[in-house]
Symmetry: C2
Subunit: 93 residues, 2 copies
DNA sequence: CGAATAGTTCAAAATATTTTGAACTATTTC
DNA sequence: GAAATAGTTCAAAATATTTTGAACTATTCG
């Protein structure tokens, strides 16, 4: 049976196991600083609605940081989650 | 758009994004040497049929090595795939 | 104020993944 | 050779994920 930590792990792998979200992540890595959801959405060609769904999922997996400023939402990668759950995955299994 | 390498990456994350397969992987990591599908299936409590499905998927993602010897199939982790696609994921994005 | 912009929410439809059981192949044991 | 064992294949059913469009909230601009 799987514990709490394993559930996070699975949520994270699920979040990464999708072409749309992988493109978002690539874009955010290149961007280096926080950018708006709209900017990412335009660059990766996804609808507002679909973007909203994917950003939410990435956020709830802890892979991105998000901050709402008035009309806009700024997002950036949360590197510590990548370090802890992906880079160190094998050794921590 | 995503290239060939990205498709492998997604197949690998998909393979890891499942509780049954994560249990199989844990078992295989502990085992240290190759074991039969039957042994893993008993230990993790999955049906033959379901096991067959999951082992095939792990194999096609390159996460396990498999070798059939007469009636039995021996499986073990393919560490190089973990190293290349998981441990080094962030830096390679 | 009214229109435009950025993003969210909801429910339905479309797709993809997983589980199941029955029937099957191949090998081993009695 | 018959029965048991290890695993595979197939199609159907069950579940889970993703996309879509319409309606919505909140903010900004003229």
């Amino acid at each position: 049976m799987l514990n709490e930590e394993n559930k996070n792990q699975i949520a994270i792998f699920k979040a990464l196991a999708d072409p749309v979200r992988l493109e978002i992540i690539k874009y955010l890595k290149e961007a280096k600083e926080e950018v708006t959801c709209g900017e990412v959405g335009k660059a990766t060609n996804i609808s507002k609605t679909s973007g909203s769904y994917h950003f939410k999922l990435l956020q709830s997996a802890g892979l991105i940081n998000a901050r709402k400023d008035a009309r806009e939402k700024y997002v950036s990668l949360n590197k510590s989650t990548f370090d802890e759950y992906i880079t160190n995955f094998y050794e921590n299994i």
